[in-house]
């Protein structure tokens, strides 16, 4: 079973989002997603300063098995990317909700976070995935 922290918001495409105190939104992929991908070996980040809209592609994560797009859960501007993943992509597997984060977005409209799934709704998505 995968871990789904209740304090985070989720996209049905398996990204998680967390509103930080400075107003940015940190984005990563869920425990369920990293388990399904298997060993992550490469992460392609978006450019810092790049504008993204909710649901648009904002990077790629590749496991030994497959390549998978990462989608921006909210619209805004990329302010930071997790450079440690370049040399240690396995961090995504080891700590998907912590050190394995992907990038931060300065959101255009923080209320967009409300459109995302809560932990219970996301758990239903994961369950549906397994059948």
């Amino acid at each position: 079973m995968s871990e789904i922290p209740t304090e985070l918001k989720y996209a049905s495409s398996h990204e998680w989002a967390r509103l930080e105190e400075d107003g940015t939104v940190t984005v990563g992929i869920s425990d369920h997603a990293q388990q399904a991908l298997g060993d992550v070996v490469y992460v392609e980040h978006p450019e810092i300063g790049q504008t993204v809209s909710a649901g648009s592609e904002a990077g790629v994560v590749e496991s030994v098995k497959a390549a998978s797009d990462i989608y921006a859960p909210v619209s805004g501007t990329i302010t930071e990317v997790n450079e440690t993943l370049e040399d240690a992509p396995e961090t995504v597997n080891q700590d998907p909700y912590g050190d394995g984060w992907f990038f931060r977005i300065e959101p255009d409209d923080p209320s967009e976070l409300e459109d995302l799934l809560d932990a219970a709704a996301y758990a239903d998505v994961c369950e549906a995935d397994e059948h």
Partner: protein, 355 residues
Amino acid sequence: MSRQTALHALHVEAGARMVDFAGWDMPLNYGSQIEEHQAVRTSAGMFDVSHMTVIDLPDGSARDFLRRLVANDVDKLAGPGRALYGVLLNEQGGVVDDLIVYRRTDGYRVVVNAGTRDKVLAWFADHNDEKTTIEERDLAMIAVQGPEAIERFESVSGLPVAGLDSFSALESADIMVARTGYTGEDGVEAILPGEAAVALWRKLGTAGVMPAGLAARDTLRLEAGLNLYGQDMDDETSPLVSNLAWTLDFSDRDFIGRAAVEAEKAAGVSARLTGLVLKGKGVLRHGQTVITQTGVGVITSGVFSPTLGIGIALARIPAGAKGSAEVEIRGRRLPVDIVRPPFVRNGRRVYKDPA
């Protein structure tokens, strides 16, 4: 409903992630495919390969039959216990399947792929001018691979496999053990009844041999530069464009497909299957386009190499292309080196950078 091997319950018990492969419910991994891969490169791992198709040809007429159907010459097998790798060709010179042929005291045994089972059995039946007996066997198969594979297998089985040469086999009661594999490491493949396979698998596990799934098998075989049927070669591609010219034997006999490959050779072979190494970070994948200085090619198999930490691939590219090339990944062109496979043998990098 997928077919299950004799070891199926053991995979489920071990928590394997099971997937359908050629109609069989097989273990993809038991947790981490990279750990399984490294176990094979550094100590020993075991694979359930019971989905492979084992066919016995016990009659004296099997020799003539195989000399006509296999493009390598089974007459190279000096006696019982010797084995060789080869391909079956169609009349157009395309590859029907690849296989290993073992010479036995009575006739031959061949092992072909799982996904080609029906096709090969039909091919054999349709081309059986000799009316030789063709018997599919319901046997399990376990591959034990890695630098410690021989020692561990001997200690568990009591069979003297350390004395076997590469591509040699011994038979004892109802078990056949051959010094062959699909990983680029030393090791054996054991063909045996299902119940005995369950006991052997358990003992090997107790002896510290790590179960490894299909995912690790794929990264290991690609590092070893070994083709996968259906991906790196198929009914439409000849052995000459699949890095398999070495398996063709044109000695004094005719074989199915001989005329076609000779004609292709005479006309000039337009492409070749070779290795690619990605120079930056990323992963090469099946189907990506390769742009060389003399034309365009395609990646037939691509993975991230756990041993080397880089993207590697087999690709079919124009015959004259060499040095460096580019691969198109998500709209960007990334530089690759064209290298001669294998990439890894016995745990170490063996390919050379292009001159």
